[in-house]
Amino acid sequence: MEDIESRNIANLEMETDKKKILEVKNLKTYFYTEEGVVKAVDGVSFNMYEDEVLGLVGETGCGKSVTALSILQLVRAPGEIEEGEVIFKNVDLLTLKKKKMRDYRGKDITMIFQDPLNSLNPVMTVGTQVKEVFELHQREEIYELLDQKMLEWKNKQNRIKELEKKLEDNETNQRLTKEEISDIKNEIEKLEEETRDRPTYRSILREKSRKILEEVGIPDPEEILERYPHELSGGMRQRVMISMALSCNPSILIADEPTTALDVTIQAQILDLMKDLKNEYKTSVLMITHDLGVIAEICDRVAVMYSGNIVEYATATNLFKNPRHPYTKGLISAIPTLDKKKKELDTIRGSVPNLIYPPEGCRFHPRCDYRLEVCDKVRPLLTQIGESYFVACHLFDPQYKDSPKYEWGKEELERTRKI
């Protein structure tokens, strides 16, 4: 068994020239509830590459959000990360101490959440919350900048003094022409305008926050900084969240269903914005969603999750063109599209299994149409079946390919298909 597990992890290499930035290996997160142990994430492995968008797609309760929270170690109380490695820039984040981990959060790996209203503190202004990120992670840079600006400011002040002296001298000497005098006066005025406000820590913070808000397309950022989250619209709030996430120029942005709570047109706006920003900042994005449309829109690579496992992991183009895993197939054919008009939609029968007592073997086997005899006994592992294409299914495993097909009882088939 241990052998197979290691094979699972080792083989997860895509043929790509891009640099690997995050490696998740065999991650397991369990929730110890009163009813029993909920195996929310049970052996998930994937890689993220530089300047790429990885989509993590699956139905409710398949463990996609927990995976993201586990990467940042933000899983709440009854949940515990049992096993696995999260390797970011050659550091295993799971072995880090709390304090060290805090430096990564918000700086190198950031996260935005589904519900922007509840994710922003209601009693703090947008400005305070945006500034906080800078204060947490860029304090030194800001002080450096402050020193620089102070130097400039002092130079300018000195220059004003010089010019004023010149004018004073001129009153006694009267060497300067009228034009020169007016030039000097103009320069003094200009410099005075520039040096009216002494650069402070706060002013730099404010300037930075204003800039980042402008970047995410918020009109009138000066005013928004003073507002409270409840005074903004849903799209605006999500923009603020994105600005906070991007303010330290992170390597990885984890977006947990960023558009689910938004309207269709606003959703298009936010997706568009994310695409632009991703190209601008060269940030890798982990996009978590249940909406295959969003995945097709923005992602380069997709990992399909089912019941705590990744069942398929491939590039988006390949996956949508020719999905291999029965679950992915079912999922894609269940979505109504223009050419499926008048026909009945294909469905996946049955419902999502209980994560406390998950089915033995392949977790999808009770719902699978292509089920083999071995499916309820042996757990399938991610295996490479093509260029950058991984599937966890016995149908594609040479070892079990020829295993006899399971015959569904007619009654059982009928019954399960309906619910």
Partner: protein, 442 residues
Amino acid sequence: MTIVEEQSIEIPKKREKEANSKRDNVILRVENMKTYYPIIGGFFKRRIGEVKAVDGVSFKLHRRETIGLVGESGCGKTTIANTILNLVPITKGRVYYKGKVILKSTETKEVLKEILSSITFSTIMDSVSYFFIAKMKKLLEKLEIELFHLFQKLKIIISYFPEKIREKISNFLYRTAKRYFRSKSSFKNKIRRNIQMVFQDPDASLNPRMKIVDIIGEPLKLLKNITGRRKLRKRVLELLNVVSLKREHLDRYPHEFSGGQKQRIIIARALACDPEIIILDEPTSALDVSVQAQILNLLKNLQKRFDLSYIFITHDLSVVHHIADRIKVMYLGKFVEEGTVDDIFNNPSHPYTKALLSARPTFDPTLRRERIILEGDVPSPINPPAGCPFNPRCQEKDKHIGCGIDEPRKIKIEGDSEEHFIFCLPFIEEKKSYKGWQFISD
């Protein structure tokens, strides 16, 4: 638990003849519906404004047909549903069911007001005081005279009040009475029986403290007067079978079901009284894709089986394309475009519809199109923009005349089916614009 005999029970196909014989197939007609919510505020709880949730909407629903209402959140789709079911009072307009008015804005208002204002305040005080004294006599003999004096005095004081204040008081009484009567005057059971609704959130629309039998049995008990326990259970079981749930689910509580099953239970409840119309308020938006497909299939099946008419409310265009026959696109309480499915999807004519359609995701990553991305947010319906409500965000604003000034007109799109209209303003280059366009209203 009583075990009901299980047989395959077909609910009889009904109304077929009736349907064929009827010349006019229209089953529900909404005429110029306006629903405004009052905004109550201030110290005296006055009405300080109103939200124009639905602002002048008319449509017809035919038998065995599905109308899709499409729009973003807050555009008034759900309010239309609530108004038709009389969960929200209608402000203006009428709703006809099979040619009979079932809802109208209260024109009896004036009559009631007259009656109430004829009852002067002093008569009320008189009766109250006498009643009060008679009642309290035995209990408070000591205070009798004082109380009588009090009421006499109050009466005198009130008679000194200027007419205006008295009117205000009677207005207040009238409003209280109206509220009372409105809740009392039942939207007749017969209509309730024929128009049912499926709500958006399957978790919240099932009472968590009631068993499934009671939930589905409630409309049967209240609207169909089925009282026997056995009878009720039998009928509920039939309904559960229709939505392919089983007998052992009868005595469970809602929290023991998955989202899809809950939605099936809600559908079963809506079906309980053999309705003719079911209003579906985003029935699949809270569900996963695979479950959504199951529910959509079920709904289509049921429609064929029981001759249902649907009003399908959603924001998901692919779903509406799959299930609807005709589509109404809404924006800020008004329709912006209406037509058959083919009209809307093949020839979207209103800029908003175009934008919506382009925002619809496709599953082919190779086909990433240029999208029309609308700027800004939906304006608040409390003070909608003047003229066409869409004009501040419209991407084709420059091509039209008077977007921010004139109300949009109903324009027929030639070349498509007879029902394709948009609500827009004419193009600037009039010659070009009149080609194939024909003004209907004003």
